[in-house]
Every structure is written in structure tokens, then in C-alpha cells.
């Protein structure tokens, strides 16, 4: 046994003081009474006479000595050697991802992990430090190198489970970053093992050994893993997938609701490991639909899913061209585009359009909005230098997402303006002679094409409509995407043309305000449910009256990896690099003083009882 605060043993001097108080008698005032025999023979004197009296046995004395002894014993903080081996610096990675909300261990996996870590904190010696990292989609340091048990306990109790995944790689990187050179450290991972795959960056190992403490026991869970609304000419329908991830057969009831109310209830029986797809009707007026199962399982996060049923709002796109069937057809491939075609002479401005394509035409003032300018006439601001012969073309960066599925192998360009001196933006497609297609993000996503489409065989290749699709989706992402997102996944929101305010109302009713001048990225998607985007926009183009435009997107778990819940027995973790010379381990301490203090409290209660019983 070790005493963490041996100096507190000096408090043991209180014991003889208590005994001395019993030797001493209190000085009682003398009162003369006319008839002493009328007064009851009762005395509550447990103290002593002037100046000393014979020490008599007293239960109170015994209890008070015991209380004092126990309090002194607690004050010296006795500690037993603990079973766990600790290092001077202990780095604890606590999995706070969605799967840790599972209740297969009571009250939850996260609380079970916190309980184990709390016990570990109590075992820290006076010189030991601990760093606590909450492992979520973005890991964060909760407590850094602290030796204060109270602050560690407070930091630990403040950790809550998120609805997102656990990024083990990022957490390990963070942990490696807090280890000082030459410092003896040890890592502890408290997790159910349901984490995102490790990066290859840890091939060289970690600067500390790490232990995996498995949390959780069961993978029994029935979850909703997909919900998609499909529209056809006749009707709309929702496709829902229900998956029994457990080993045992389960019967659940699927409750199907729209924002107008209950639509359908279907009982469902699933064998162990079975998944079943349901086709569910979507009412015409429904804007959102919700499916819910009453599985009463260990994991509630995947028992309810939502989807947006409303058809995405259409974008108005203006094509200003003397005539270009290739461009027009490529734009019309987007079902959410309403394409207007105008001759350059009739162009009066593009204020009412979300995007404008100028083909061989450039207005005196280009709009402050997304646009594509193709082969700008000489003398206009975006025009390049004299035409040069080109030939084959190539991607400036083969990995550019804008060129996904775009093959430029058989594409040739006869001639193009010399865009070499242009400062428009970065080059997307280039040639030996000059850049051909340039793109830029600021102030709006805009594209400059240096050659006439007709001077190329590109429109005849499959890559052309794909490139146009990629460009238009990049320039005009759905203002508010109607698909489902995962928790913590960022959502790109393009403010409406002329929007003065853009706000997002989260499922819990809280509101976040976004900037209106540019495309915004909304990252507060930690809650599952329906998010409402409210924008204040002109009632109609050119009018000063305003209206509030609402659109929605949904956040659902939709993660088979998380919903399968089965804790991983052996998690592959990076090995530790060779330990530095002289690195040692020592046993932690198991502090027992709280129990002794509790016993002292019980004795105090007994002493109070004894006093009132007149013992």
C-alpha cells in the first residue's frame, strides 16, 4: 500500500485531543435550588471535570475516535497497486461516435467507456499525466496532459456521443502530436472498434504503444439503412431498406408518415442478417416523409429516417448564342434546368437567370453570377490573343473532379484564342500551345472556353455532355440539395439570386445564419432529421418585394458499418516504434480513500444517532 499524502498523518494528533477533551470536565455553573430531590437525576455530561476526571467508557468517545481515525486514514490517501500498467503520460482515445450510443451495455457504450476511463484517472499517481481525446468525425482534445484528477473527471463527463463516424486515423495523428520527444507515453483506445479504416500513413507505427479496450457486447440491431424518393411521370414512391443486423429473427412494425400525417403501418418479420426493401407510397402534397420502426433494440439512431419528397426546384438558364445545338442539348440534359435561348442581339441582361452561357458573344457588362463564356469576341474583356492552331488537348490535372468521367483522348481542336496571358483562373483543359478551358471560383464559379465549339470534335465525343454536366453541377449545385446527408457531412448551399438572408433551422429548432454573397458550406449537421433552409428572396425578378423561400435537406445515419454494431474483438492498430532506452512502465494506483471517507461519514451518522439516543 502506498500513501499519496503521508504528511496528512499529522492530523492523527486529533485523536489524543479528543481523548483529552473527555478527561477535561466542563465548568458548570452552580445553581442553588430549594429542593434538589424534585429535580430528575439526569445528566448528559460526556465531558470532563474541573480540571480532570476519570475517563469513563463512552460509546460517543469510541465513535468519535473511530471517525477521526478514518478521516486521518482518508487524508493520507492510501492507494493499492492497480491492475493496469500506466505510463507517465497516458493518452486516452475515447470513441464518441454514433455506434457508442448503443445500449447493449448499460447505460450505454459511451458511459461504460467513461466509467473505465474514470477508474483509470483515479489510478493516476501524483506525477502521472493524462491526455483525453474524443474520437469523432473530427477528433478533439478534451484534456491535455493534465495531472488534476478533478479537471480530468469534469472533462470526461463533458464528452457526449456524436451521430457521426469515428475517424481513428485523425485521432491517432492527434495523439501522436501531443507526445513530446523522449516522453514515456502509452495510448489506450476505448472503442467498439467501429471506426473508419486506418490510413496508410501509420505504416511506421506510433511513438507510443496503444492498447485497445473493447466496449460493447452485442450486435443485435434492426435499422433503416436507406430511404430514397423516386419520381415518375405518374407518381412518386419511396424505397426503404430495413436490415436486421443481428443473429436472431426480429419482428418490427414500420410506421410510414408524411408531413401531413400517418400514411401506412406495416408489420415486418426479418430473419437474422436479412434485409428487406419496401416500396411505400408518397402523397402528392408531401414535402417530407419519415419511416420509423419500433424495434426496441439497443440502438435508436437508425430507427427513424427521413427524406425530402419535394421535387428539386428548377434553375433558369440562359443560352445567348447565334446558334449552337451542341451547347443547347448538353444544357437540356439537366432535368432541373429550364433553358432559355436568346440571340445576342436580343440579350437584355441576365438578372433573372441563375446561370448564363455566352456563346461567341460577350455583353459589355458580364453578370455577377455563374456563367460560361465560349470563344469571346475579340475586343471584349475576356478575349484572348490571336488564334493559334491547336490539335490534341489534355487535362491540366487528370485528377480534377470537374473532369470525372471525361475522356479527352480523342478530342481535337482546330484553333483557339491564345489564352496564355489570361488571368481568368486556373486551367482545366489545355494544349501544347495554349490553355483552352479556364475556371475560377471567385466571385462566382465561372468558366471561360477559348475556342468555338464548332472548331472541335469535342461535341461529338461522349465527354462533352459529361463535361457540361460536371461544370453545370459545379457552378450550380442544387440550391439546397434534396438528398440525404450523413451526420457531420458538410452541405453546400447556393444562395438564391438576390437572396438577402439565408438561414438553416436544425432539427432541434436552433437556427444558423449563413452568408449570402457566395456559396456557403453548412457543417453543423451533427443531428439527424430534417434541416430547413430559409432564404429571403425577391418575390419576382426585378421587384423589391421579398418573400421567404423554404427548402429542405435530410440528415440520416444510413451507415451499414455503424448499424451492424457488433464490437470488434481485435482491432488492427499501428505498432509502436521501438521504445526509447530507459523507458519503463509502472503500476497505477487504486485509491481507496473515498471508501474510507464514506465509512467515516457512516460513523458520523452513527455518532449523531448515539448522541440523540443518550448512549
Amino acid at each position: 500500500m502506498t500513501f499519496l499524502a503521508p504528511a496528512a498523518a499529522a492530523l492523527a494528533l486529533t485523536l489524543p485531543v479528543i481523548v483529552a477533551l473527555y478527561f477535561l470536565r466542563i465548568r458548570r455553573p452552580t445553581r442553588i435550588v430549594p429542593a434538589l430531590h424534585l429535580w430528575p437525576d439526569q445528566i448528559r455530561d460526556r465531558q470532563a471535570n474541573v480540571p480532570w476526571q476519570k475517563l469513563r467508557f463512552s460509546w460517543l468517545l469510541l465513535l468519535q475516535l473511530l471517525v477521526a481515525a478514518f478521516l486521518v486514514a482518508a487524508a493520507v490517501q492510501p492507494a493499492l497497486p492497480a491492475s493496469a500498467s500506466l505510463a507517465p503520460h497516458n493518452i486516452v482515445l475515447l470513441d464518441a461516435s454514433a455506434s457508442m450510443q448503443a445500449k447493449d451495455v448499460q447505460p450505454s457504450r459511451l458511459e461504460d467507456a467513461k466509467r473505465q476511463i474514470s477508474a483509470m484517472i483515479d489510478q493516476l499517481g501524483p506525477q502521472d499525466r493524462m491526455t483525453l481525446i474524443a474520437m469523432q468525425s473530427t477528433p478533439r482534445i478534451v484534456a491535455s496532459g493534465s495531472a488534476d484528477h478533478d479537471s480530468m473527471h469534469r472533462a470526461l463527463s463533458g464528452v457526449a456521443a456524436s451521430n457521426g463516424p469515428a475517424d481513428l486515423s485523425a485521432a491517432l495523428s492527434l495523439a501522436a502530436g501531443v507526445v513530446r520527444a523522449g516522453e514515456e507515453s502509452r495510448g489506450y483506445l476505448f472503442s467498439d472498434g467501429i471506426v473508419e479504416p486506418l490510413h496508410s500513413a501509420f505504416a511506421n507505427g506510433l511513438p507510443f504503444p496503444i492498447e485497445y479496450h473493447r466496449i460493447g457486447v452485442s450486435g443485435e440491431n434492426v435499422g433503416l439503412t436507406s430511404l430514397v424518393v423516386r419520381s415518375s411521370a405518374q407518381s412518386r414512391a419511396a424505397y426503404l431498406r430495413v436490415h436486421n443486423f443481428g443473429q436472431q429473427a426480429r419482428s418490427v412494425t414500420v410506421e410510414w408518415r408524411s408531413d401531413a400525417g400517418l400514411v401506412d403501418v406495416r408489420p415486418l418479420s426479418l430473419a437474422g442478417g436479412q434485409a428487406q426493401d419496401l416500396v411505400l407510397p408518397v402523397p402528392d402534397a408531401a414535402a417530407t416523409v419519415t419511416a420509423r420502426i419500433d424495434s426496441k433494440d439497443n440502438f435508436a439512431l437508425d430507427d427513424s429516417v427521413t427524406a425530402i419528397a419535394r421535387t428539386p426546384r428548377a434553375f433558369h438558364v440562359l443560352l445567348v448564342t447565334p446558334g449552337n445545338v451542341f451547347l443547347e442539348q448538353a444544357l437540356r440534359l439537366r432535368t432541373d434546368f429550364q433553358v432559355d435561348v436568346a440571340a445576342p442581339a436580343s440579350y437584355r441582361g441576365a438578372a433573372a437567370y441563375a446561370m448564363t452561357v455566352f456563346d461567341r458573344f460577350s455583353p459589355p457588362a458580364l453578370p455577377d453570377a455563374p456563367y460560361i463564356v465560349v470563344d469571346p469576341p475579340a475586343g471584349t474583356p475576356l478575349a484572348g490573343g490571336a488564334a493559334v492552331g491547336i490539335g490534341r488537348v489534355r487535362a491540366s490535372d487528370a485528377g480534377d473532379p470537374l473532369l470525372t468521367n471525361v475522356s479527352l483522348q480523342d478530342v481535337h481542336v482546330a484553333k483557339s484564342q491564345d489564352m496564355g496571358p489570361s488571368t481568368f483562373g486556373r486551367t482545366l483543359i489545355t494544349s501544347v500551345q495554349t490553355p483552352l478551358v479556364l475556371v475560377r471560383d471567385q466571385p462566382f464559379r465561372q468558366v471561360l472556353v477559348g475556342f468555338d465549339i464548332h472548331d472541335s470534335d469535342f461535341p461529338l465525343r461522349i465527354g462533352f455532355p459529361v463535361l457540361m454536366q460536371n461544370l453545370s453541377e459545379w457552378m450550380l449545385p442544387a440550391s439546397v440539395p434534396s438528398r440525404s446527408f450523413h451526420p457531420d457531412e458538410p452541405v453546400t448551399i447556393v444562395p438564391e439570386n438576390g437572396a438577402t438572408t439565408v438561414g438553416v433551422i436544425r432539427p432541434d429548432g436552433s437556427r444558423r445564419q449563413l452568408a449570402t454573397g457566395a456559396i456557403a458550406t453548412f457543417a453543423d449537421t451533427d443531428l439527424v432529421g430534417i434541416y430547413t433552409v430559409e432564404q429571403t428572396v425577391p418575390a419576382s425578378p426585378g421587384l423589391s418585394t421579398r418573400k421567404t423561400d423554404r427548402s429542405w435537406f435530410a440528415v440520416n445515419l444510413f451507415s451499414d458499418a455503424t448499424s451492424q454494431l457488433t464490437p470488434v474483438d481485435r482491432l488492427a492498430l499501428p505498432p509502436a516504434r521501438a521504445l526509447t532506452a530507459g523507458q519503463t512502465e509502472h503500476r497505477g494506483f487504486l485509491q481507496v480513500w473515498p471508501w474510507i471517507a464514506l465509512l467515516a461519514l457512516v460513523l458520523v451518522l452513527g455518532e449523531w444517532l448515539a448522541f440523540h439516543r443518550g448512549l
Partner: protein, 292 residues
């Protein structure tokens, strides 16, 4: 009227209007204002009887002789003095309280004695603690009041109470009136003394005098209790429970004194030392029928 340190002259003047009420005739040694069992000289006619030689011929009723032709003597009620005994408890327990019970007892005894002396009664004073002490020769007549006051005032208070030793002096008294002033708190019972009063054919009264602080103790907490009579000490912790137990014991004791007194045909009054003497005498003692 001479002034007295024990009682104020104004009070004494007011007391002259009172008299001790005796329920039966008395047999004294000297003439007084009390109806005697003997026949004597007084304005009050009692009876006739035949003359026998040796009778005072001055008492022959000559009118009766004229009608009956024989000598008849007129007999008158004799008026004699009342043997009035005062027993005053001056034990240690009486030397206590605010106002002091012994001082109050002396003043009360003086007041009652003065009423008796004003009626030409013969007042014998006895103070007692562990033993009775005579207050000297009987006092008679108003002029002897100052001597009685000085005598009663000269006795110190102290010592234990022994009611049993009152039995002998009471038994020696001629039938008359006895007033016993005590707190009744002696460790021994008061009953033998009261029984002795009955046997000595004493018409009397027991006046129990207590201090307000006895009835309602005004302290709590730890204390060393010391008996005012015996000097015995005991450590004590006063709590609401112990105070209640004390009050209960005191009530039992005082009820016992009253019960014994009334059973023996004596008048009883409970007085507190903070009562004015005039209030005790003119109101309380008149209520119990001792004075009128």
C-alpha cells in the same frame, strides 16, 4: 402607630379592619374578644340558672325573682382571648427566590399576627427549620406588635426542614388557631405535623409559599445543582424534558400538601413570593376564610 421595618404603617392601619375568623368558640386564659366556652361577663346574654350559695349575688336577676319567687342568676357569654399560633418555616429552602421566600414569609406572618393582636388574641410565634424555635412569650395586644416584628425579623433562615419535630410543640398547644407558613418542599412529608394540628384541636391553615422561579425555572443548559438546605450537589443538564419532569414533581408535591391539609380540615392557600403582602392578606386569605 409606631412605624415598623417589617410592615409599613399604612398597611398596618388597613389590617386593623380585619380579624381572624374562628369557626368554634375558644377557651383562653384571659378576657378577650372571642366567644368562650365559659360563661363570663359580657353584654351578650347566654342563659339562666338557679342561685346556689357562693354565687355572685350581683348576678341575681331580680325581675325573675319577682315573678318566680326564687333566685335566678343571669349568665352571660364570656369573651376570651384566642390562642393564636404562628409556625413560620425559615429553613434553607425558604431563603431562596426573587423576592426571597423567607423575607416574604416573615412579612406575611407579621401581617397575620398583627391582625390577631388587634383582636386581643394571644399570639405565640414559633419559627422552624430542622428544629422549632420559640419566638418568646406570647404576644397580646396591639402594643406588642413591634416586639413581635423585631423578634420575627431577627431569625436567620437556613438549615434543613424537619416537619416531624413540629409535632411535639403543636401537641402542647391549647385548642386554638394555628397558621403554618411553609413552602412544603422539605424532603420529609408534612403530614405528621398537620395530623398533630388536628389532634391538638387546632383550627388552622396551611399557607404554602413558593417563589415564581420555582414554579417556572428560568434557566437551561448544564449546571451543578446545589440543595439550599443540605448543600448536596449534583451535575445536571436542563433540557425541555428534564424541566417538564421537574414541574411535574413540584406539582405532585404541592398537590399532596393541599390534599393532606384539606383532609385534616385545615384551610389551604398557595401563595407566591412576588404577590404583595396586602394582596395576600386582604384577598387570598379572605378567600380561604382565614381572615374576614
Amino acid at each position: 402607630m409606631a412605624s415598623s421595618p417589617l410592615l409599613e404603617p399604612q398597611l398596618l392601619r388597613r389590617l386593623e379592619a380585619l380579624a381572624v375568623i374562628v369557626r368554634r368558640a375558644v377557651k383562653g386564659q384571659m378576657g378577650g374578644e372571642r366567644r368562650s366556652v365559659n360563661r363570663g361577663r359580657s353584654p351578650e346574654f347566654a342563659d339562666f340558672r338557679n342561685y346556689t350559695p357562693g354565687d355572685d349575688y350581683r348576678l341575681i336577676d331580680w325581675n325573675a325573682y319577682a315573678r318566680l319567687d326564687r333566685f335566678m342568676l343571669r349568665l352571660f357569654v364570656a369573651e376570651e382571648e384566642l390562642p393564636f399560633n404562628l409556625f413560620v418555616d425559615l429553613s434553607g429552602s425558604m431563603d431562596w427566590g426573587r423576592p426571597n421566600k423567607a423575607v416574604t414569609a416573615k412579612r406575611l406572618a407579621g401581617a397575620i399576627a398583627y391582625v390577631a393582636l388587634a383582636s386581643l388574641d394571644r399570639v405565640r410565634l414559633t419559627v422552624f427549620a430542622d428544629a422549632p424555635t420559640s419566638g418568646g412569650a406570647p404576644y397580646r395586644g396591639r402594643h406588642s406588635a413591634q416586639g413581635l416584628f423585631a423578634r420575627i425579623d431577627s431569625f436567620p433562615a437556613g438549615g434543613p426542614t424537619d416537619y416531624a419535630r413540629l409535632v411535639a410543640p403543636i401537641a402542647r398547644q391549647r385548642p386554638g388557631m394555628t397558621v403554618l407558613i411553609t413552602d412544603g418542599l422539605g424532603e420529609e412529608p408534612l403530614e405528621p405535623a398537620i395530623t398533630a394540628l388536628r389532634l391538638a384541636r387546632q383550627e388552622g391553615a396551611v399557607l404554602q409559599l413558593l417563589a415564581p422561579q420555582e414554579l417556572e425555572p428560568d434557566w437551561t443548559g448544564d449546571a451543578r445543582l446545589k440543595d439550599a438546605e443540605t448543600g448536596f450537589e449534583r451535575e445536571f443538564t436542563a433540557t425541555p424534558a428534564t424541566q417538564a419532569a421537574y414541574r411535574s414533581a413540584l406539582a405532585l408535591r404541592t398537590e399532596e400538601v393541599e390534599r393532606v391539609a384539606r383532609r385534616r380540615g385545615l384551610r389551604f392557600a398557595r401563595l407566591t413570593s412576588d404577590q404583595p403582602i396586602e394582596d395576600m392578606v386582604r384577598r387570598t386569605l379572605r378567600q380561604v376564610g382565614l381572615l374576614g
